[in-house]
C-alpha cells in the first residue's frame, strides 16, 4: 500500500510499504477514506519529538471503512468509522476513569520503558507518533491496523454526513473541546486563547458554547485571526500589539479568567526568552520553547485557570513557578481523552451546533502528502488544514 513515511527532519515521503494484517483478536483493518495532517505532526516534521524511526508511517487523524475484522472485534465489514488518535483498551483502571490517553495496556510492554524513564510512567499508544507511544503505524496510508476496535472507533451511522464533517472527531475537535473544559469556564468569563490553529479555533467555539462572554484569540496569521473573528472572538496580533498590555487593558486590569495555550513547544516570535530558548533547543540543552505558557501564566487573573492542550515533549527553562504559585493558578493539561467526547461531539455536529469543516483549506490525494507537509509548515496563513483523500487521484487538489 501507499503511505506517508518519516525519514528525518523535513523529510517525509510517499512510500510503498507492506499492508497491515490482523494480529490480535480485537483488531480491525480500516481502509482510509480521509486523513488529516495535524499541527502536532509538524513537531515530528521539525524533528522535535524523540524516538522516531526512519520509515515510520505518520498520521493520527483518520477515518475510513472497515475491511477486515478479528474474531473479537464488534465492528462489521463495510461500516464507516472515525478512529480516536490515542489507542485505549477500555478495560484498565485509567480507561475506567475515562482517562483514555493514560491507558495502561495499549502501549506494548517493550516500549513502556522509554516513557517511564522520561516521564515517570508510560503513556498510552498513539497512531503514528514515535516509538515512545508504541511505534504504531499511522493513518496517512491506504490501510491501518486498528487495535481494540471493539472499543475505540465511532461508527458513523448516517451515510449522508460526509467525511469532512466528522473526521476531526479523531483529534482536534475533542482536543479544542477538552481545552475549554479544562479552563473550567464560568458564564460571563473572559477567555484568552493563544494560537488560532485548528485546536485554537475549536477551543474558541467550545469556550463560547460553555458560556464564555468574551474570547480573545491571539496569533500572527491574519487569515487565522479572521476565522477566530468569524466565531465572535476579539483578536490580537502579537506582531502589532503587546499581548500582556492588551489583555490587561481589555479586562480592566483584572486579567482573563482563563487562558488556553494552543501552541505548545514550538512557540514563535522574536521575544528575548524565545530567542534564548531557540539557542538552547538548537544546542540540545532543552527540547521545548515555552514562550506562550510563560505569557499565559503572567496574564491570567489571580485565582484563574490555565489550560494547556499544546504539546510539550520534555523540559522547559524559566518556568514562572513563582507567579504561578503567588497568583494561585490552576493548570490543567494532557493528551486528549478522545473516546470520552466522541458521542456528545458527534451529536453536536449532527445538530449543527459546531461547525467542523470551516478550517479545511485544502484537500489532496495521498500522493501529495509530502508537499502538503511543506505547505502546512511554510504557509500557515493559507494552509489552515489539509485533508488527504487516499482515494483521490493526484493533482486534483481542491
Amino acid at each position: 500500500m501507499k503511505a506517508i513515511t518519516w525519514h528525518g527532519k523535513h523529510d517525509v515521503r510517499l512510500d510503498s510499504v507492506d499492508d497491515p494484517e490482523i494480529l490480535n483478536p480485537r483488531d480491525a483493518i480500516i481502509r482510509v477514506t480521509s486523513t488529516a495532517i495535524c499541527g502536532s505532526d509538524l513537531h515530528l516534521y521539525d524533528g522535535y519529538v524523540p524516538t522516531m524511526e526512519k520509515g515510520d508511517v505518520l498520521g493520527h487523524e483518520f477515518m475510513g471503512e472497515v475491511v477486515e475484522i478479528g474474531p473479537k472485534s464488534t465492528l462489521k465489514v463495510g461500516q464507516r468509522v472515525v478512529v480516536p488518535f490515542p489507542i485505549a483498551c477500555g478495560s484498565c483502571y485509567h480507561c475506567s476513569k475515562q482517562q483514555y490517553s493514560g491507558c495502561e495496556n495499549a502501549n506494548p510492554a517493550d516500549t513502556q520503558d522509554i516513557g517511564r524513564e522520561g516521564m515517570g510512567m508510560p503513556m498510552s499508544g498513539i497512531f503514528g507518533y514515535s516509538h515512545m507511544t508504541g511505534g504504531y503505524s499511522g493513518g496517512q496510508a491506504e490501510y491501518v491496523r486498528v487495535p481494540f476496535s471493539d472499543f475505540g472507533p465511532l461508527v458513523i451511522p448516517d451515510d449522508s454526513i460526509e467525511d469532512d464533517k466528522v473526521l476531526f472527531l479523531s483529534d482536534i475537535l475533542p482536543t479544542g473541546w477538552m481545552a475549554a473544559e479544562n479552563a473550567e469556564i464560568e458564564p460571563g468569563d473572559t477567555v484568552a486563547v493563544w494560537g488560532c490553529g485548528p485546536v485554537g479555533l475549536f477551543a474558541v467555539q467550545s469556550a463560547f458554547l460553555m458560556g464564555a462572554e468574551r474570547v480573545i484569540a491571539i496569533d500572527h496569521f491574519p487569515h487565522r485571526l479572521a476565522l477566530a473573528k468569524q466565531f465572535g472572538a476579539e483578536v490580537l496580533n502579537y506582531e502589532q500589539s503587546k499581548i500582556y498590555e492588551a489583555l490587561w487593558d481589555m479586562t480592566g486590569g483584572i486579567g482573563p479568567d482563563a487562558t488556553i495555550d494552543c501552541v505548545g513547544l514550538e512557540s514563535h516570535g522574536a521575544f528575548a526568552d524565545n530567542i534564548w530558548d531557540q539557542i538552547k533547543v538548537s544546542t540540545f540543552m532543552a527540547t521545548d520553547r515555552p514562550h506562550v505558557i510563560r505569557q499565559a501564566i503572567m496574564a491570567t487573573r489571580k485565582g484563574g485557570r490555565v489550560s494547556m492542550p499544546g504539546v510539550y515533549a520534555g523540559f522547559v527553562d524559566k518556568f514562572p513557578l513563582g507567579a504561578f504559585m503567588e497568583k494561585g493558578l490552576t493548570l490543567k493539561t494532557g493528551q486528549t481523552h478522545v473516546h470520552k467526547y466522541l458521542r456528545p461531539l458527534y451529536t453536536a455536529i449532527a445538530e449543527g451546533k459546531i461547525d467542523s469543516t470551516f478550517l479545511i483549506s485544502h484537500r489532496m490525494g495521498l500522493d501529495e502528502g509530502p508537499e502538503g507537509y511543506k505547505h502546512f509548515k511554510e504557509e500557515q496563513d493559507t494552509y489552515t488544514k489539509i485533508v488527504l483523500k487516499p482515494g483521490m487521484a493526484a493533482t486534483t487538489a481542491a
Binding site: P20, L23, Y93, N105, D110, Q112, D113, G134, F148
Partner: protein, 194 residues
C-alpha cells in the same frame, strides 16, 4: 507533651520495590503491577506455570513435571538457553506463592509473588526474586545491554500479564506479522499463544 517517643524500626514503611540497597550487586529484585481482576483469577493464572510462558518474553518453555514442580528454559544473553527446575515451596491460594530452584539449576533462583486485593482497582501483584546472576556482576551488565536484565524483564513480563488478563491479548504495535517478528523476536508471543 507527655507523649512517648515513637519507636522507629530499623526499616521504614516503604515497599521492598523501593529499597535503596536492592541494587544489582545483590541480584535481588522486586516489581509490582496492579491488575484489574480478582486476586483469585490472577492467582489461578499464575499457579499454572504453563500459562506464564505466554506472557514471559524470555521464557522459551515451561514444562509441568507435577503439581509443584516445573522445568523452565529461559533465553539467556548471547543466545544461550539456561534451565532449572522450579519447586513451589509455599502456597496460599489467592494470596501468595513462593518458589525455589532445585539443586543443579544453571541460574539458582528463588522468589515470592503476592496477590493483594486492591478493591475496585483489582489486584496488586508484587514479585520479589533473588537469583545468582550468570557471570556475576559483569555478566549482568552485559545482560542489561541486551535488555535481558531480570528487573527490566520482570517489569515487562508483569505488564504483559496485566495486558493479557485485562484485555485478552498482548499489545503489539506492529503493522503486520513480518514487522511483529522483527520487533518482538522470532518466537513471537502470538506464536506461543497459538
Amino acid at each position: 507533651m507527655g507523649q512517648q517517643e515513637q519507636f522507629m524500626p530499623e526499616r521504614d514503611d516503604a515497599p521492598v520495590t523501593a529499597a535503596k540497597d536492592l541494587d544489582s550487586d545483590r541480584a535481588l529484585l522486586a516489581e509490582a503491577v496492579t491488575i484489574n481482576r480478582d486476586p483469585d483469577d490472577v492467582y489461578a493464572f499464575w499457579r499454572d506455570p504453563t500459562n506464564l510462558v505466554q506472557v514471559m518474553e524470555n521464557v522459551a518453555a515451561i514444562e509441568r513435571i507435577d503439581d509443584r514442580r516445573s522445568r523452565w528454559t529461559v533465553k539467556g544473553p548471547g543466545g544461550k538457553d539456561v534451565c532449572w527446575v522450579s519447586v513451589i515451596t509455599h502456597d496460599v491460594p489467592g494470596e501468595e506463592l513462593t518458589w525455589q530452584s532445585e539443586e543443579g539449576a544453571q541460574v539458582a533462583n528463588s522468589g515470592k509473588v503476592e496477590f493483594r486485593d486492591a478493591g475496585p482497582r483489582g489486584t496488586v501483584v508484587r514479585a520479589v526474586i533473588a537469583y545468582d546472576p550468570p557471570g556475576g556482576a559483569i555478566g549482568q551488565l552485559i545482560a542489561k545491554l541486551f535488555q535481558r536484565e531480570p528487573r527490566i524483564q520482570t517489569r515487562r513480563d508483569l505488564h504483559r500479564l496485566k495486558q493479557f488478563l485485562e484485555t485478552g491479548e498482548l499489545a503489539t504495535s506492529a503493522r503486520n506479522r513480518r514487522i511483529h517478528e522483527e520487533r518482538y523476536g522470532d518466537e513471537s508471543q502470538a506464536e506461543k499463544q497459538a
